[in-house]
């Protein structure tokens, strides 16, 4: 067994050895600052890359949305009919849309002619 004094002496020797090999405060501080600036540069670079990636993704998404929406909407507009269009049709409107034939009866257009193949 060793006593407290010897333990203390051994630790003192260890401390002396450490202090001999210790870097100076100025050196440690300088390296710390260099590390900080390096880290900041890396962070800025990562942010720039991330921002560029986001911009690229948004641009691609917007152009895709624009092209798909324009192709989808055009046929809808040309084929669209208002649900109330039926109200615009008045009785006998088909008669008013044609040129009247002289000597013909209105009923001729409405009543189908009998076929010649009958008995």
């Amino acid at each position: 067994m060793v006593d407290d004094n010897e333990i203390r002496q051994r630790f003192a020797r260890l401390r002396e050895a450490d202090q001999e090999s210790a870097p100076s405060f100025a050196q440690t501080y300088r390296r710390a600052r260099a590390r900080r600036s390096l880290r900041a540069t890396r962070r800025v670079r990562a942010l720039v890359i991330a921002a560029a990636a986001v911009v690229a993704i948004v641009a691609v998404a917007l152009s895709y949305a624009r092209s798909s929406s324009s192709s989808a909407v055009t046929p809808e507009i040309t084929t669209w009919r208002a649900p109330t269009d039926v109200l615009l049709r008045t009785p006998g409107s088909e008669l008013l849309g044609e040129m009247p034939a002289l000597g013909a009866s209105v009923l001729d257009t409405m009543i189908p002619k009998p076929s010649n193949t009958g008995t």
Binding site: I7, F11, L14, R15, A22, F25, A32
Partner: protein
């Protein structure tokens, strides 16, 4: 405390801090220096603030201890990832088996052997808390109460670690002496 005053305080405590950082990093000089750099930046950037509840040195030792633990965790995670990549790449190495470094200088082994006989080896055999409290008391001349504040444990717990650690260390150093 303004930045100039902080820098002055850090400079005064630097040698002591380096010794404590060495202890927190398993006596790895490079790791200790890296931890100190991180601590200085943390303190000077105001991410760790001294509130005056203890002495500046006690508070700073606490910051160093936490930073070293955090760096150790990061290094462990990096190691795990790298090990995973290596394993995926070769697939031949068994988990947990560390191959000897073929590029280690020949005197590294001798140095390693000589360390084994000394205080460094004996400290390495102790439990972490015991090692920490002995380092703080014998190396840095802190009281057990101050050591408890650095280690974020109760004074009673620190006393127990101190008593057990000292007994274990004395026994180990005594055994080494007899050999």
């Amino acid at each position: 405390m303004d930045e100039v005053e902080l820098k002055l305080q850090l400079e005064r405590a630097h040698a002591d801090c380096f010794g404590w950082a060495m202890a927190c990093c398993g006596r790895d000089r490079d790791d200790a220096e890296e931890v100190l750099q991180t601590v200085y930046l943390t303190v000077l950037d105001g991410r760790a603030r001294y509130d005056g509840r203890s002495t500046f040195r006690t508070w700073l030792f606490g910051v160093i201890r936490r930073t070293a633990a955090s760096e150790r965790r990061k290094a462990w995670l990096r190691g795990e990832r790298e090990a995973g990549r290596r394993e995926a790449g070769s697939g031949a190495r068994e988990a947990g088996v560390i191959a000897p470094d073929p590029f280690a200088p020949p005197d590294a082994e001798v140095e390693h052997e000589s360390r084994r006989d000394g205080l460094h080896h004996a400290l390495g055999q102790l439990a972490k808390r015991q090692r920490e409290v002995l380092q703080l008391v014998f190396y840095h001349d802190l009281t057990v109460e101050e050591a408890a504040a650095v280690m974020h444990v109760s004074v009673g717990s620190a006393r127990t670690h101190y008593a057990r650690g000292k007994a274990n260390l004395a026994a180990m150093l005594g055994d080494a002496k007899e050999l």
